[in-house]
Symmetry: C2
Subunit: 375 residues, 2 copies
């Protein structure tokens, strides 16, 4: 299978099948080619070629059997149509709203995602942040590390997690994992979602303000869409009240950050645990000195272990495909609603993991409200 | 019921029954008499009298129907024998090894404790510290608050909690609550205890070194006794290994702190979450700068909510007693082994909560290895 001489990133001349990479996933950029290395396929890197993409694709049209992409790399119908032998698209993200699934379905192209690899890390972070804010873990740690315990005595008591009414905004796979964990702490769970989930035992509130009224803590796990942009504003925060805590491990712009900052400064809510921000990596300076705010740098989503799991899943999907074995994490395209490519940007059925935490904030950041979002 | 004139802290002359306080519980000292106020009884405060205790007790022998004590206030057989109308001892602690239960049983005196009020807070703290160390919550929070995210990029990824092998040293009520929570995070639980617990599904290791060999994290929940003093030393820490994490919410001296400090400095274990220390409130200075160490000032045990629950439980027990109603949290003395007063100091069947966090460190601290301990 010859590759055109004009491709500066000419792959080795061997018989291994080609996996096209239009734009490198974050893990690929950081750890290099070997991160997804396999003896059963090789990568064809469009992003290293000086050719315009369409010309690159035309040149390699007969070679490409599969694509590797991520949440920040769209796979459009136009791209798919240029690749007659394309049989699989693998994305490093949990969501697939950056892939034209209608075209894949029409062509019989399989799609595989990251499954729910990242859901548990996200849920763990949400619970960790909630425990930290309520029990003042980071603040007390700072107090001890500053040597104040022996000189100034005890640190103020924190608040109990058990028995708290916790409202989950967006009961997708992450929200469900959060609920499962908090049940073990004897919390009462309620939720807001686009619709009531019949198989779920938790109290459903169709309105977030109403949910906040009935909760001691709100955990934001929903997708960032036009509908959820600034969903958490003054009204919700007031409804949450002065003993309320808010946790956001979803997307910064779901909260009206200016309103949140004011509420925290004025102690109109008890505290916040924030992994995401409206203009990250910039963080409101007013939050830096507040003991009732715990922040993490958009890393709720991933750990070294889940990144390794991702590697195995991505490689395993390709190896299965090239060996005619069942995929590890196929996305059932027949279950997807028939949506246009444009509307698919807003599909919230799956979770898209923004790999920004791995160093691509400036690339991925705000590539679109419906992109790189968590549902 | 007349009260001797020589009592400087002479109680009001009313008909309310008397509850004797030999040494004020921490909550009493901090919040004052009204913390345990009730219209159904009044306090007789031996600690405010200039009289020697035996003389005070002789003076009021006919008046005292009940005693309020705490983990740091012993109720000895000698005291009990001086009070012919004593019918109830209520302690603010979960444990009762500071009360001569043999004498109570012999005399038919009821004993009530704090029940398991504090177990859940302790367990929450253990999980919070474990999550913090693994996911670098406090360290990443510090990084963001120092403004380093935008200037220096992402913070290193943490480690996943799910799937970790967690070993619990001491599977009492706190250890059991820790296990329940960690099961919801998909951790595998094993434990070390004085004996295998037949009704528990977790793997039992009779030896702590063996437990550590098989674990990614060790959580210390056992009592401090002669047997557990420096139970966690070089051998256990080496067995835990360089990826291992240790959490201590029990008592500082259970860990050989010098060895722990060396292991942490040399990164021979991954990290530590410490609520207790050998010489608290003094903390080893070597730990202050370590990002892999999260510390709290011996406040794992309590929150404002559990303190309020304690208040209701203590008052409720006295009110029930004086109304001939069943006690709220009676301790079944018939189940206790027949131990001498001396040996009772080592009974690990119950959890004694050190109320040091409420400001009495210097009073309570190291009043005895078998006292103020968690099992």
């Amino acid at each position: 299978m010859a590759v055109a001489a004009e491709n500066q990133s000419q792959p080795p001349q061997n018989d291994l099948p080609y996996v096209l990479i239009l734009k490198p996933p974050a893990a690929f950029s950081i750890f290099g080619d070997h991160f997804f290395h396999s003896p059963k396929f090789q990568f064809l890197k469009a992003f290293e070629s000086p050719l315009p993409l369409s010309q690159f694709l035309l040149t390699h049209a007969q070679s490409v059997q599969a694509i590797l992409t991520s949440a920040s790399g769209s796979v459009t119908a136009d791209t798919i149509r240029l690749l007659p032998h394309l049989g699989l698209v693998v994305t490093t993200s949990q969501g697939i709203n950056h892939i034209d699934c209608s075209e894949c379905r029409r062509r019989g192209i399989a799609v595989a995602g990251a499954g729910t690899i990242f859901s548990t890390d996200c849920a763990d972070s949400a619970v960790g942040l909630l425990l930290d804010v309520l029990r003042k873990v980071s603040a007390a740690n700072r107090y001890v590390k500053q040597g104040l315990w022996s000189s100034q005595g005890n640190y103020p008591l924190g608040n109990k997690l058990g028995g708290k009414q916790v409202g989950i905004v967006g009961l997708g796979s992450i929200g469900t994992e959060v609920a499962k964990r908090l049940e073990a702490f004897s919390c009462s769970i309620s939720y807001n979602s686009r619709s009531k989930k019949p198989s779920v035992p938790y109290t459903f509130y169709p309105n977030v303000v109403e949910l906040a009224v009935h909760c001691d803590a709100l955990i934001i796990c929903c997708a960032l869409t036009d509908e959820t942009h600034h969903l958490i504003g003054k009204e919700v925060l007031s409804a949450l009240g002065k003993d309320g805590v808010i946790i956001n491990i979803a997307r910064g712009p779901i909260i009206d950050e200016k309103e949140l900052v004011q509420c925290l400064i004025k102690r109109e809510i008890r505290g916040a645990g924030l992994d995401v921000f409206e203009h990250e990596p910039d963080v409101p300076v007013e939050l830096l000195a507040l003991d009732n705010v715990v922040m993490s740098p958009h890393n709720a989503v991933c750990t070294t272990e889940s990144l390794e799991e991702l590697r195995k899943t991505v490689v395993g999907n390709f190896e299965a495909f090239f060996s005619n074995e069942p995929l590890l994490t196929p996305v059932p395209l027949d279950d997807l609603p028939h949506l246009s490519a444009r509307k698919q940007q807003k599909v919230q059925c799956f979770i898209t993991i923004n790999m920004a935490f791995l160093g691509l904030q400036k690339v991925d950041r705000f590539s679109g409200k419906g992109n790189g979002s968590i549902s």
